[in-house]
């Protein structure tokens, strides 16, 4: 399976990178109300069963990919080749 993990700063957590990008986009003339910056991790996991793959990727997020104090994560799974 392929998995994409989206890691985001939790709501209410100050995101100075997002604020800097938001202000640059406004300077370029874009109508942006808010920008938040996170991280994308693309994985190819050995598990072939979607439920098993999800459980494993959740464990990866909890143990390493996200810091639960400040970050939330979302997992998007798809078949290899998809």
């Amino acid at each position: 399976m392929k998995a994409t993990v989206l890691v985001r700063p939790k709501q209410g957590i100050l995101d100075p990178q997002g604020e800097a990008v938001e202000s640059s986009l406004r300077q370029l003339g874009f109508g942006v109300a808010r920008a938040r910056i996170g991280r994308v991790v693309d994985l190819e996991v050995e598990a072939t069963d979607p439920a098993a793959a999800r459980v494993e990727v959740e464990q990866m997020c909890e143990q390493l990919l996200a810091n639960p104090l400040i970050e939330s994560y979302e997992i998007v799974l798809r078949e290899n080749g998809a």
Binding site: L14, P16, Q17, A20, L64, L65, N67, L69, I70
Partner: protein
């Protein structure tokens, strides 16, 4: 009889860059300072451990996130569990937070700028093994050099830490956007401390300040007390 020299290990991770300054400063303060390679699965007989500053594992993912899984860190966690003294400086503080040995997390500075200068600190607690040479409320001048030193804890956690008296050092000036100017915290048991400023860079008046020696000499003294007590 001369007092015993406590043996203090300094863990060297790939990307550590203040390890040798820490070894030098601890030796200058009369400790037997020994380097510990990150791949070591067991620690030698030690009276304290220092996790030095730097950019372990390139700061990939989050500062300290990879280093916490190194073999030496499992041994350090066991050492801390047994009540051993552990001091994390800058990247060492980040590693201890990621490892869950200290509360909170260190985030990118609010300004997004790397801060590298002497800063004023206030000692909130002088009754820890890491600050026993200081006076409560004393102001220290010690340099910082970090891009990710903005300490954060959510409201509930911060209030718990206040109630348990775990905030040891605060900045006495604006530095990095750290919550309530927290610069250093200790664990609940009081044997693990982390701070962003670099005491090892301030151990001689020639360096602009010798205040860092108060922190490191506190550690050396506390480690020596443990040798004498046969802990």
């Amino acid at each position: 009889m001369s007092s015993p020299q406590p043996r203090i290990g300094v863990v060297q991770f790939p990307g550590s860059n203040d390890d040798r300054d820490a070894l030098w400063a601890l030796a200058a303060l009369d400790a037997d300072a020994v380097p510990i390679w990150h791949a070591q699965t067991e620690l030698p007989d030690l009276d304290a451990v220092v996790l030095p500053g730097g950019f372990s594992y390139g700061d990939y993912l989050r500062c300290g996130a990879i280093a916490r899984f190194s073999p030496a860190m499992s041994a350090v966690a066991g050492f801390a569990d047994d009540g051993g003294l552990v001091l994390g400086i800058c990247n060492g503080f980040q590693i201890l937070c990621e490892a869950g040995l200290l509360p909170g997390v260190l985030r990118p500075n609010e300004s997004l700028s790397f801060v590298c200068r002497d800063v004023r600190l206030r000692v909130d607690r002088a009754d820890t093994p890491f600050t026993c040479r200081c006076r409560p409320g004393e102001e220290l001048v010690i340099p910082v050099k970090h891009g990710e030193g903005c300490w954060f804890a959510d409201k509930d956690l911060y209030e718990e830490l206040l109630a348990r008296n775990q905030i040891v050092l605060r900045y006495a000036e604006s530095v990095n956007g750290s919550l309530h100017d927290v610069a250093g915290v200790v664990n609940e048991r009081g044997n693990v401390m982390g701070l962003m400023p670099h005491p090892e860079h301030a151990v001689d008046p020639l360096l602009g300040s010798a205040d860092g020696a108060l922190i490191l000499a506190s550690l050396v003294e506390s480690a020596r007390d443990r040798v004498l007590a046969g802990v």
